[in-house]
């Protein structure tokens, strides 16, 4: 069955539940966690027990506690970076779409330059220049990620610009900013929102990848990506430690995307494949 009108299907409900759960954990972290974020409660990689439900991590901190705090850090960072990347990406994208050929060409080429080098290597270089801190991390990922957002925003912009009401606004002599913020942005909201969900997830995967190069969130805080990295060594010997944070990431990603898909399908016409025959 398709979702028609705003009636949420089971998948979307599940997705929402997952997201809410994560938000709850992120907000109420300290109250849920049995131990301190960095408190060492046992040896490295102790198996699960009554004391440590998911066992302990590589240096004996309670895995469950780390997960709870990790939610806060991970979601927090991912959220801020995504906001940043959207702020930049949308602005550039819509400007490129509205301001006309030259500006468009200029920005697009610039974005090509960024995209044509591995993100990791950009991150490596930029973080080395800026030095490592939460700020520089957020800033770097935000900027790099905005190139992806740019492409979507620009494409949406190009489509909307050709619509009559935008034309009317331009004929009225409205400034670039008005056209973008009042005429185009509101109508591009839905796809952008859904994109937000995706980029959000990719951002904390990216952070995970960074931690592979020894870059990442400041010590001794927990972030899921970093936790996977720190504990992944045990995987080869069947130690489950790394599975928990990985599962957390996967769960949240799926959750968000379920909602996103629903969100998109709300104002999408059902396709011909749905016809009765």
């Amino acid at each position: 069955m398709t979702i028609f009108g705003h009636k949420a299907p089971l998948t979307a409900v599940v997705g929402l539940a997952i997201i809410l759960l994560n938000l709850l954990v992120a907000l109420a972290g300290p109250y849920l966690a049995p131990y301190g974020e960095t408190q060492v409660v046992g040896g490295g990689w102790d198996p699960a027990s009554a004391a440590a439900w998911f066992g302990t991590d590589q240096i004996g901190r309670d895995m469950f506690t780390r997960l709870v705090y990790g939610a806060r850090m991970t979601i927090g960072i991912a959220f801020v970076t995504t906001i940043l990347s959207f702020a930049i990406g949308i602005t550039l994208g819509l400007v490129a779409a509205v301001a006309g050929r030259w500006v468009d060409a200029l920005i697009s080429r610039a974005v090509d330059v960024v995209l044509s080098i591995p993100l990791l290597i950009w991150a490596l270089m930029i973080l080395n220049v800026l030095g490592q801190s939460l700020f520089s991390l957020v800033f770097t990922i935000g900027c790099l990620d905005s190139t992806r957002v740019f492409r979507l925003a620009r494409a949406l912009g190009l489509n909307l610009v050709s619509l009559d009401f935008v034309e009317v606004a331009r004929m009225r002599g409205e400034g670039l900013w008005w056209v973008i913020s009042r005429e185009i942005l509101p109508n591009a909201a839905a796809p952008l929102m859904s994109e937000f969900g995706l980029r959000f997830c990719f951002n904390f995967l990216f952070i995970a990848a960074l931690s592979f190069l020894g870059l990442g969130v400041p010590l001794p805080y927990a972030d899921w990506g970093g936790m996977v990295k720190d504990n992944v060594g045990g995987i080869s010997f069947g130690l489950p430690a790394a599975l928990y944070p990985a599962a957390a990431i996967a769960l949240l990603t799926v959750g968000i995307n379920l909602v996103v898909d629903w969100f998109l399908s709300i104002d999408a016409r059902p396709s011909g494949a749905q016809a009765e025959m």
């Binding site: 398709t2 028609f4 009108g5 050929r101 468009d104 060409a105 992806r148 957002v149 492409r151 979507l152 494409a155 949406l156 190009l158 489509n159 909307l160 610009v161 050709s162 619509l163 009559d164 009401f165 034309e167 009317v168 331009r170 004929m171 009225r172 002599g173 409205e174 009042r182 005429e183 509101p186 109508n187 909201a189 839905a190 796809p191 859904s194 994109e195 995706l198 980029r199 990719f202 998109l264 104002d267 999408a268 016409r269 059902p270 396709s271 011909g272 494949a273 749905q274 016809a275 009765e276 025959m277």
Partner: protein, 608 residues
Amino acid sequence: MADDRILCLEKLRVETIAGRVLVDDVDVELKRGEILGLIGESGAGKSTIGLASMAYARAGMRITGGTITLAGTELRASTALYRRHTRGKSIAYIAQSAAASFNPGMTLMDQVCEAPVVHGVMGRAEAEVYAKKLFRTLQLPNPDTIGDRYPHQVSGGQLQRVMAAMAMSCRPDVIVLDEPTTALDVTTQIEVLALLRDLIAEFGTAGLYITHDLAVVAQIAHRIMVLRHGKTIECGDTVQILEHPRTDYCRALVNERRDAEHLTLSVPDRAAPPILRVRDVTAGYGTAAAARNAVAVVKNASFDLAKGETLAIVGESGSGKSTMARIVTGLLPRWSGDIELAGKSLPPALGRRPNDILRRLQMVHQMPDTALNPRQTLAQIIGRPVALFFGRGRAEVRARVLELLRLVGLPEEFADRKPGQLSGGQKQRVCIARALAAEPEVIICDEPTSALDPLVAEEVLKLLKGLQDRLGLAYVFITHDLGTVRRIAHRTAVMLKGEIIAQGPTEQIFSPPYHPYTEKLILSVPEMHTTWLDEILQKRGGAAGLVAGAAERPAEVTPAARAAAADAGAVAETERMAAREVLGEGRGAAGLEALQTEVRNLKGMMEI
């Protein structure tokens, strides 16, 4: 005697998945060889019935009740496979927009032969021969080779005929014609209409002819069924409906075209210098610099517009009349020539024009759906120009908005609604209100009524007229509907292939001696009696001339396409043009659909 009833719908009921009733217990009966016209405004449910007669419901709709009996077999009860095999074989469909209904990636021949081959009616070779025969019957130019072309390579009129051939390719018992001529120009409409009629007669096929234009259906249908809001209003044979309609609604429909009340026009003051002067303007898509690979769409056009005057620009699609509007408003910078507003020359490009000029020159678009930002309330939409041009305080703006709403005949409480909650006519009134908010001197109306149902259009027309009388506005009124022109235009300019071929006071243009093209236009306007088509065809001395005429129609795509080939950057431009085109074809949501599609596509794109 059941046997001569080929198609029979009983108590047909169609609802949206959300549960809104689209077709409400409608009975339709169609005898062999008979043509039934389904008439009604948009949303009357006529297309839905047409599709339902093939046991097909569009996405988001469901056939919830009634029976569909085709040649003695009840389709809803039979298997999906059986239904599939009836489609295209024993009941065929001709859609409104040929341009959109042909797969742009396949040759016409492939698409025409598909059905017969798939249904095993005949082999490919045989099918081709037959198709060519049909092409010939339908008087398509060079019928032997046209099959090798792609849809975008042939004109709308021809496509519509190819679609007819496609429908006939299996010699179906019933054929459903869904507004087959609406998307066409008046002149082309006649040819297609005539051909369809002959075709159906020749094959003895029964037809379900769906349209909103009583005059058109009058020429072809034996019986007419009038629908409204998914219910049958009245059903009888054509003459009866035309001569003695029983219900008021039908009466209104019939009279709307026949003896519309005469509008007495206000007198423009020609003493004062013209408010708008256009001199030898030439322009096209692509910049003047790139002019070599872009063809001029408007060539050396000149006209004057006096204060309080209405100048109608008439012509067929592709004649460049809409482009004319874009040039005047500066959306499309002119290559050469000059445009003066109240004696002051206008810079070609929009960006260069001072606010005051922008204010004095307003525009009303053809598609109210796309001309209004769906995310803003009417108050915002109409209030913005007031705030922008006259910088009034919030309260004043609000007051002015309400005043304007009253002025265009909309209730004040609409101020806080969004376009989505309005009907087409109401939306168009909002567009007009927005234009008025700038207190302009000239309003350019680009087919302001053509997207509206007849009765609604009439209202809007009267509104515009009334406003002109009161506010002394000058209109440039772009349309293809000569009936309208006759009634509201002081002067008329006729455009053909981007040039103004005739210009002068309306009555003069519309009285002999005509320019031959003008005459062709005039004769093409359907009239509300069953014999009109035959008379015309006689006057025209055979259809051949018509076909030739159709063949030479210019097309608006070419320049953009060429531009694209010339420079990748212009692909975007092409898309915009394509979007416009679709809008032009009168498929309202097209622009937004295209956007929707784009979104779906791009969504994936980002997932790295």
